[in-house]
Symmetry: C2
Subunit: 196 residues, 2 copies
């Protein structure tokens, strides 16, 4: 098992073993020609265990609803005085501490390469982004932010997160996700003023 | 053929007949249980004709690259003095004149309902939106707009287009798409100032 080291370092559980097995197989033989059974076997698990964790083959690289929950909770936990974009910055910081941790950087770079090679995975990623935007919009409106303002802020937050994820997984200087995301949000705000 | 009237009104061609047949079948019996062969038969065409027009069943409701081209051309044709968001407003106006014409409003409302009921179609729609953003960003940077500014403007343009499309296909007062899109863009700009 070439990924045994990673599994050990990540405190293995079935879900993570399936993710790593899938990533290896997609990279080795392509996404299209990999079956759920092969992923389960490579992870030393059964097909039914796979389907207890993921509804289909695509979802294995997308981690269900966890990211949407982290963002919504991060926005809810921001200081009451925070502007919508500051609350989003707070949430992206939490994502860096709880999800995009330094040990995952190499995994994320490999994951991006597999997604970039597969239109079906790009579709799932695009749909996931809509879910993140909906979660952020919902959490902002619960703070009393008007609907349309929340929606615009959430779109900017999703764009910042996407660019920051690319920068973070490409980075070799050990910069942390939250820090990169904060810089990216500031850059987007500066760019905004030039749009109109 | 229940849609014969519509077909006639729209100057029928194979592509449009396939789109209307697909929409009818998706609404009647569901997207999942409709086959490409059934769509072709309902349109009075063959399966191979279907695949000359669309790569797969999903694509039949998304019109290929036409919308991306309209947006890119609309931005390119905007006055040299236009700001990025003004250029996008110009492009959305062109979309209203050349694609989202008043005769298509009812079709668009039905199309939205079918997409809302099918996760696979939502995925394709989300991916299509990324294509529109890329096309707008590319056309803006060709006007000399910096990359990040272009990307932010394109995201806002895509959001305005999406909200305007919902409003337009829901509207019963005959308001035109370009006009609704212009108002939506202005609202988004106002909302933006409240995000930071």
């Amino acid at each position: 098992m070439p990924y045994a080291g990673l599994v050990a370092r990540w405190q293995p559980n079935a879900s993570q073993r399936l993710v790593l097995a899938a990533l290896d197989l997609f990279a080795e033989q392509g996404y299209e020609s990999t079956t759920v059974i092969e992923i389960a076997e490579r992870a030393g698990l059964t097909k039914s265990t796979f389907f207890r964790h993921f509804p289909d083959k695509r979802e294995v690289l997308f981690g269900g609803e966890r990211m949407a929950r982290l963002l919504a909770e991060g926005i809810a936990a921001a200081p009451a005085t925070a502007t919508p974009l500051q609350a989003i910055g707070h949430a992206l910081d939490a994502v860096g501490r709880q999800a995009f941790t330094p040990g995952l950087r190499h995994f994320s770079a490999r994951r991006r390469a597999v997604i970039a090679a597969n239109p079906e995975l790009q579709e799932r990623e695009a749909l996931k982004a809509l879910g993140l935007i909906a979660a952020m919009t919902g959490s902002l409106t619960q703070r009393g932010v008007p609907e349309l303002t929340g929606r615009v802020a959430a779109e900017l937050g999703a764009l910042a997160m996407k660019i920051a994820y690319e920068r973070w997984s490409d980075a070799t200087d050990g910069a942390e996700f939250g820090e990169i995301a904060g810089r990216t949000l500031s850059e987007l705000q500066a760019a905004l003023s030039a749009t109109s």
